[in-house]
Each structure stands twice: as C-alpha cells, then as structure tokens.
Symmetry: C2
Subunit: 316 residues, 2 copies
C-alpha cells in the first residue's frame, strides 16, 4: 500500500506518493493562492493535485491507504481540523470533511513541525528512536516531539510551542505573541537577521555589509552564517551569541524532556557542521549532567521532503 | 493484593502498606541515619521496617505483590538503581539487589518527584488524566510527568529536571548546579527565604521581621507567605514577584508539554488557595493561547502521603 502526504504552506502545496518506508515515489506541487480564494477552493485544488500525483505515479487510488496533511498552525489531530494559523488566515477548517468530498479515503492532519519530526523518526536522523525532539529553526522556532515512538502534541494540541519558551524572565526582545523574551526571538533565522543588521551598523567594515550593500532588507541568515564561516569578526560575534541562546534552549529541553536525540532542521540548519559542532560544544560546556549521558544533537536528513514524508506517515 | 511503598528521605524513611486504589492501610517510619552508616545498612533496616509494617498491618507477606521505593536523585527505573543524589551521598546503589537479600518480591524504584506525580495520578488531583505535570515547590523545584498515563522520566532517567530550566539567559541568580538563572532559584521555598531576608533588610518595619526577630536563619517560606496573606507590603511584593516567576515557568511547561493539568505540591503549596488563585490569575494574564484551552492548575491532594502511595503504585 501507498500513502499520500501533503505539505501545505502559505505559498505552495506539495503532494507526494510515499511507500511504507517513507520513500517518495512521485511528487508535484502547485501554488496555494490562499489570499485570493477561500479554504474550500484551496482544498478542492488539493484533492485534484492528489489525484493527479497518483495518476502520474503510475499507481491507482485503490493502492492508496490514506491521505495525510501537514499544515502550519494549531491542528486537532483527532478530527484533522485546523483551528487557526497565522500563515493562512484560516479558522476551523476540516481537512477530513473537505478532502473526503472528492476522495473516499481516511484523512489525517497534524502540525507541520510535528509532521517533520515524525518524518525524521520514520526515515531520517532519529529513525526508530523512542523519544526525540525535532527543532525547525526558521522564521520562528517550531518543534515536533516523538515520545514513545508516537507524535506527542499535548492534550489541547498546542504542545511543542517551544519557540515561546521564555528565557528572559525580566524582559528581552518583544515577540509577536505578546510576551517578551521568547526563545525564538534569539534562536530563529529572524534573530540572525536582526542581530546581523545591528552588527552591520556597528561595524561598517563587516563582510556582511559587502554582501547586502548596507541594505537591511537584503540581510538573511545565510549572509550572517557565511560571513561567520569565513571568519568575519562581526559575524562571528553574532553567530557565537546565536549559538549560546540556541544551546541554552536545547539544554532546557534536555533538562525537561531528556530525549535520546535533538534534531536540528529548518533554514538555519543548512549551515551544517559549522552550526552543529558549535552547538554541541556549547551544550557540552553548559549541560547540568556529568555522570550520565544526555541527548545527542544531529542535523535533520530529509530537508524539504520531511513535510511530505511525515504527512504521509500519519496514516501508518 | 497489597503493595509496599517506601518514601526514602535524607532524614526519615517511611513505609506503608497500600491497596490497589492507592489507600494506605498502615504505615510507620524510622530515621534514615545515612550519615552514620553505609547504604547497605540503611537498606537492611528498610527491609526490616517493611516486614514490621506488614506484620503490624495484620496482613502477610504472601498478600504483598511488590515493593516500590521513591528516592531523591537520579534513578534508573529499569534496574531500580540509584545513580547519585545530593541528599544521601550514595552512588550506584541497587534497591532491588539489596532489598531482595531479605525479601523475595519484585522491587521497583523511581525518583521521588516522579513517584509523587504518579500518586496524584492514581489517587489525587490528577486522577486518571492522560497527561499531567506535578511540581514540588520545596528546597528546589522538582517535577513528575505522567504522559500517556505512565511516568515519563526521559531516555536517560534524568528528565523532569525542570528546576534547572534557564529563565535568565543573560545572568540571574547562581545555582548550585553551576549555571545561573535556573527556574528553581526563583520558584522554590529557597527563593522565598532569600527574597524575604532581602526585604527584611530593606523594610525593617515589615511584619516578617517581627516573626524572625531579624534573624535570617529564622526566615522560612511560611513566614513570607503568612505575612503576604496578612497584607504586609514588603511580603506582598516578595510574594508577587515569586508568583510572577512561578507562573512564567508554568507557562513554559504549557507551551512545551501542553498537559491537561499542572499540580502544585511541596512545602510552598501549603499556602493553598492564596497561592493557587494568584498563580492562576498570572498564568491567565500571560499565557500565549486565547482560542484554545490550556492546562488547569490545581493543588496536590495527597501531601506527604504521596511518597508512599506513588512508590507503592510503581508495582501496579
């Protein structure tokens, strides 16, 4: 049997036909266009893309066991309902009800970070482990927990909002959530961009300025990371601070959840071993335990495919 | 069948005969005297106390299914081995091997906070809930997680070290663990004592000084809490700050684990509704979610009995 996985994003939706080992056999994508049409129309289009992917793969609907959707936002997994999400301005949309208007298969849905964590558990870095935490270091910081070899999304499906763990009780950077001092203000790509721009103003000679031409709009996490890799002192300082905050949150996760592995995914993780080695060193230097083992820290292995693979595996 | 529960502390060990509903039928205690004798002698004495409690209860060893021990420190539950603990200066002590020299029954062991969380799940505030977090607000801050109706102690049995969650990334109060800014420096009885003493120096007129006679050694969490209840302005300020930090950590737990319930136990929780209402209000004011439900916050119900009951229930 095969499984359909859908990776729903604000810009594009990607659909793949996946086997039971988490291998994508065929995939395709379309623009989501959620600004110009209602959720119902987007999901009709999604059903159409699913049927097209199955046809193009050379397989038939009879061979498909289920459909899984990974979506940003708060998802009630039991009913495959999206409660709300900033990225799409959708409220209380049932993936199950909408997709089953067109395709008579079981439909599952979960949060995109949970789904990516599941994908790494089925076919990536944390394959087969009992307890793991997947972190997506992007615009914010998201997390997917696998506890006892199953997605753990909390009682009210709002668990793993780890980006809003407060690490600055007496102040800190304001967060769009309304609080101040949330971890993602310090450990996301957004943090690298903000601090990179500050460093460019303070250090006009920085190699980062040469790349952006002094335009803050052109600053990216990659600009900072590349300049730090090349040894630019201003970028190195931004990077070291970033690693310190990232490691602090990872140590909090270790102290609270004590998983077997913490997997780093999302845009920032593309810095690869440069980031990984720095984070491992900082965690080792600061972690609470010396007599006992603690979580290993690894890079995600599935990249953008994690969305499709993990969504498909919801039906496994 | 009945279950033996042992609550091992640095000062006393308490043993109880417990039924399958978590009801203590008979219990007794002895001094631990761990400073004056080796672990082996303490555990021989523990076995003797267990046999005495069974006799005194009017039941027989044949009616006892298992022995469970709740102990401070890092416990490998699979082998019932204590790795280390600050309170007893014991290292790599096997409760199972030692107790089975004297009593031929299955022996289980777990961390005292995990065990208290289990007790509240079996017979207390969080009875029967899928996911709950028990917090013990004492000298430090400990936690017991029940996830999927089972104790969750992490992969390396060092999970739920939630007291060392860092909430002051850029500094904060130093902690005996070596780090600075650990949550328990702000949310424990120790924090109330420290801040109570500071407030006494700054406000000689405080009602707290009248109780302690200005002797910092006589300051307790209860002195601060009673004075705050009575409206003493200096104590109210200490209490409000304490509640702010306690609530911040609770919100972190909600954002990360999203349990059904968070149960407040330990010495500070004896302040009862005065504490509970203040914490609930502060959490409601600051929590991230408005569209969805989040964990309820309740007081522990079993008090000191939680140690015996939870330890006994390890064999259930």
């Amino acid at each position: 049997m095969y499984y359909i996985g859908v990776d729903l994003g604000g810009t594009n939706m990607a659909v793949g036909l996946v086997d039971e080992n988490g291998k994508i056999l065929h995939s395709d994508s379309r623009p989501t266009k959620s600004a110009s049409r209602p959720a119902e129309a987007v999901l009709e289009d999604m059903a159409d893309l699913i049927l097209q992917v199955i046809r193009d793969s050379g397989h038939t609907l009879d061979e498909v066991k289920s459909i899984g959707v990974g979506s940003p936002g708060t998802i009630v997994s039991a009913t495959a309902e999206l409660v709300s999400t900033c990225n799409l301005d959708w409220h209380h949309v049932s993936f199950r009800n909408e997709l089953q208007k067109y395709i008579d298969k079981p439909v599952y849905a979960d949060n995109d970070a949970n789904v990516a964590g599941l994908a790494e558990f089925v076919a990536g870095a944390s394959q087969g482990l009992e307890n793991s935490v997947f972190l997506t270091l992007g615009t914010g910081v998201g997390a997917g927990f696998v506890i006892g070899k199953r997605i753990y999304a909390g009682t009210h499906n709002v668990g793993a909002e780890i980006g809003h763990m407060n690490i600055m009780a007496d102040g800190g950077e304001p967060c769009p959530c309304g609080a101040s001092g949330c971890w993602e203000r310090y450990a996301s790509a957004t943090a690298l961009i903000r601090e990179g721009n500050k460093a460019c103003l303070a250090h006009p000679e920085s190699a980062m300025n040469a790349v952006t031409g002094g335009d803050p709009e052109k600053m990216t996490a990659k600009v900072v990371l590349d300049a730090a890799k090349a040894g630019d002192p201003a970028a190195v300082e931004v990077f070291n601070n970033y690693v310190r905050y990232l490691a602090l949150g990872i140590i909090n996760i270790i102290n609270i959840l004590d998983p077997e592995m913490i997997v780093l995914g999302g845009g920032v993780s593309k810095a690869g071993d440069f980031l990984l080695n720095a984070v491992r060193e900082e965690v080792a230097r600061r972690v609470f335990y010396d007599e006992v083992a603690y979580a290993s820290i690894e890079l995600a292995q599935l990249g953008n495919d994690a969305g499709i693979i993990g969504a498909a595996m919801l039906g496994l």
